[in-house]
């Protein structure tokens, strides 16, 4: 009712997409009915079909959209600070963190409901995701040159998991606020990447923290 903020020209489409993303993330694609999505934006049920071809089309647009934005943002950051790889990595991490903290539902959908897409859309999303990963891999390899590519790639995946973990957090209160959280996640990501090329000598069972090269 009292929609005080956001008098911006938020088109009906975008409004629907936002609510659909939230609902899909909360209860899963199959767990949400079109009537609920409609109700969330004040219209009811089949009125949605004036804006979208169907429920699948909403999910497809959401997933393709987020993948494109992630990749575009990543490419932008790479171009901006092209000289200093470490700075580029910092920027990539910060950009991803902003996404994870501010667009939680989308991040959730991104790696949760991908299989509900039609073949064509799924292929497109996967391609975008792969390009995004490779972007990171290249940058990380410039910072940690000694590491094998396959290990770096796995580490990038793992760090995505780390950064995207915010949606699964319990209720706040026992956790840091948003700015502290952003800085903490940044540190954790860098710490993880820094451990990629530690010598494998660190024997399991020995309690010592993995040695790091003083570089």
């Amino acid at each position: 009712m009292s929609n005080a903020h956001a008098p911006a020209p938020t088109s009906r489409r975008e409004q629907i997409l936002k609510e659909a993303a939230r609902l899909f993330a909360e209860r899963g694609f199959h767990g949400v009915g079109v009537d609920e999505i409609g109700a969330a934006v004040g219209i009811s049920g089949p009125g949605l079909y004036r804006h979208f071809a169907g429920k699948d089309a909403m999910l497809a647009e959401l997933l393709v959209g987020i993948s494109e934005r992630l990749l575009a943002g990543g490419r932008m950051r790479v171009e901006e600070g092209g000289e200093n790889p470490a700075a580029v990595l910092d920027a990539l991490i910060d950009g991803h963190i902003d996404f994870a903290l501010d667009d939680r539902p989308l991040i959730t959908l991104h790696d949760r409901e991908l299989d509900r897409l039609r073949e064509a859309d799924r292929k497109r999303v996967r391609q975008l995701q792969r390009q995004y990963v490779e972007l990171w891999v290249q940058v990380v390899r410039q910072v940690h040159a000694e590491s094998a590519e396959s290990e770096v790639r796995a580490a990038v995946h793992a760090v995505f998991g780390l950064l995207n973990s915010t949606p699964h957090l319990g209720r706040p209160g026992s956790l840091p606020g948003r700015p502290e959280m952003a800085r903490l996640l940044h540190r954790l990501a860098l710490g993880a990447f820094g451990a990629v090329d530690a010598e494998a000598a660190a024997g399991a069972g020995d309690g010592a923290v993995a040695a790091r090269r003083a570089g």
Copy 2:
């Protein structure tokens, strides 16, 4: 028909649970029909109701089971190596990695379909999860004593995301094999924890890897 392998005393219940876990992880709880689950174990449709009260009961048993096993395993490891916190942490990490690598579908379900449970079951699972997290928090705080508890808790959540990222990996080939993967994940987790209490002085934009105290 020709069920050549698995003559082990794998009870029908367990067999059903295993296949149900796989299917739920692949296509989501609502995306799988009971007929499919039945077909996966060679019986068809309503035959499942001789073993389970319903589809919900299968999911509940899966999620409660995995949560209990994770917690029990964690407690065991804490007791075994009580003296040396760093060794305990190593053991916790290895145990979780084994789980993530060997029981991928369960790990996926664990943080994906929790909301599809009835109130009572959901509460139980969340309680088990919380205890598991607190177990880790205590151990990590013994290793990194200077860190604030809320930051450690967030870091534990994040490292879970890191370790659980394996299910989302594309097809193998561009990634390390299972043993290398286990060791890599171990290193990454330790690296992340090691970065929890780095002085906040590490300015963003400075590319330096977060400093670590030589302890």
